[in-house]
Amino acid sequence: MKLVTVSGPPSSGKTSVILKAIECLKQESYKIGVIKFDCLTTFDNILYEKVDVPVKVGLSGNLCPDHFFVSNIGDCVRWGLMENFDLLISESAGLCNRCSPHIKDILAVCVIDCLAGVNTPKKIGPMLKLADIIVITKGDIVSQAEREVFFFKAKQANPKAMIMSVNGITGQGAFDLSRRLKDTVEIANLELKRLRFTMPAALCSYCLGETQIGEDYQMGNLKKMDFEVFS
């Protein structure tokens, strides 16, 4: 089985792009399953089920979604193998722009949209900067100039990635993406695989349920903003 991690800011077009790529792969009788990771709720499973793609949803609830991802992706792979998928796709919304579900040696795709503003590629962390493929969506509604600037900024932020433009509605560009998904490596499990980048160094009092604001209640791994006027 092959595994691909797809991430990107909320509503950037991940599901649309995945569905279009699946359409291409199904013509070659590929068996595909999807895992959707989200925080509170998602309706993506309905979209996948509508086109008969087996899907499992993982909601992190009050846990950090990326920590939740790492602790569950191994089981997801086991499920995929049991179901005899040719390809398992994990879709996750990158919520704090800091983390990334990307794993070393596993194809990593980041989906961003042109509407997000030209500084977005700069602002997104490892999710974009360490991806192998950057998919840019919604090019159909902005000008050619904005598209070109956006591509350039994405290239600057991650010069190694292959940048593709996919229209999540018409599917233009999805065939090229599907070929890249097909070309990726086979895995039997995720033992010994590593994340491409560390998760945030957490564990402060607030991670442990503290709700009270104030110096006396802040404990553990803290970082303070620098206000020169206070010192």
Binding site: V142, S143, N158
Partner: protein, 339 residues
């Protein structure tokens, strides 16, 4: 290339390659104008800083070298100029062979006609990904009469098609001048200011109503936006092919627009069913059942019909302007149309 880039002091590198500065800015780094080499600079960053960057030291250095190479490639414009694109036929949805080899050259205006869903987007996708008999249509695309290198297929610098359609809008919060400057800078051209000026002059020649440098792009009228998009694509886009999805018949001079694109040596593909635009094309590609069913060449009779249609069009524009300026159209207009 990577070794000297890593050992030369950053201050010197940035002086020589100003675009390197953007690499550090985009990572939110400061104090990079130093007499340290990139490797030394990265070494002395604190673990906290590295943590915030979202990359470890090794990844940072490898991104830096890659960035340097990619930007140098763009700035040097080492890429070969596209003079022609050839489509070698595959098959349509019913499996019927297209049986054709069609070459489009710079300066050609080619209309793409056929009902929605007939296969236009598949054709564009084939061109865009430089299909090599490996897409569902089985078509092959040649550039300058030969098979393109595999590494050309997916890179930003080699994007083949610039697209212009009525659904496109400007969304950036910038003035016309700032906006075009930003685009010019991303192309890493040398004479930014001059090029920006000529884009704006050009756009104003195409637009029905003039606009100034300091107009926010989002407050341009439909015609003005279209004019700016066309001028910008003609003069600043790196793509050799321009795909136009209709040009509305208001607020922008369609004939001049096409002339400009041809003058700038673009291959113009126009998806349209407007008889005036279609007859302005040199050839029409007829799409049916997901395949190219025929190529129609614009004939002499069609060209003279075009002149007549343009006269009617001119009259309609005059009538529109009368309405705009508050006049009445209460006279016999039969003569205007030679009826």
């Amino acid at each position: 290339m990577s070794i000297p880039a890593l050992t030369i002091p950053l201050r010197e590198m940035i002086l020589k390659y100003p675009y390197l500065e953007d690499f550090f800015i985009s990572l939110g780094l400061k104090d990079y104008h130093v007499d340290l080499s990139c490797a030394e600079y990265v070494d002395q960053l604190s673990d906290g800083q590295i943590e915030d960057l979202g990359m470890d030291r090794e990844q940072l250095i490898s991104n830096y070298t890659e960035y340097f190479q990619k930007m140098a490639e763009i700035a040097l414009r080492t890429t070969e100029r596209v003079r022609s694109i050839t489509i070698i036929g595959g098959r349509d949805k019913t499996g019927q062979a297209e049986n054709l080899s069609f070459t489009m050259k710079t300066g050609d205006i080619i209309c793409v006609v056929g009902p929605t869903g007939s296969g236009k987007s598949r054709l564009l996708a084939d061109i865009e990904c430089l299909a090599q008999r490996d897409t569902p249509t089985g078509r092959q695309i040649l550039i300058n009469d030969s098979v393109p290198n595999e590494d050309k297929r997916f890179t930003v610098e080699h994007k083949l098609i610039a697209q212009l359609s009525q659904n496109m809008n400007f969304i950036m919060d910038l003035t016309v001048q700032e906006f075009i400057t930003m685009h010019a800078e991303s192309r890493m051209i040398e004479n930014v200011e001059e090029t920006v000026q000529s884009v704006i002059v050009c756009a104003n020649e195409l637009a029905g109503e003039k606009f100034s440098l300091d107009t926010p792009v989002t407050s341009l009228s439909g015609g003005q936006s279209r004019a700016l998009m066309i001028a910008d694509t003609a003069l600043l886009s790196s793509s050799p092919i321009v795909l136009i999805d209709e040009i509305e018949n208001a607020g922008v001079d369609r004939e001049k627009s096409l002339e400009l694109l041809v003058k700038e040596e673009k291959i113009v593909l126009m998806s349209t069913h407007d008889p005036i635009l279609a007859l302005m094309g040199h050839k029409r590609m007829v799409i049916k059942n997901g395949g190219i069913s025929q190529i129609v060449e614009t004939c002499a009779q069609e060209r003279s019909n075009l002149m007549l249609l343009q006269q009617f069009d001119g009259t309609m524009i005059r009538l529109r302007n009368m309405i705009r300026s508050g006049e009445k159209i209460d006279f016999d207009i039969k003569n205007l149309f030679g009826l």
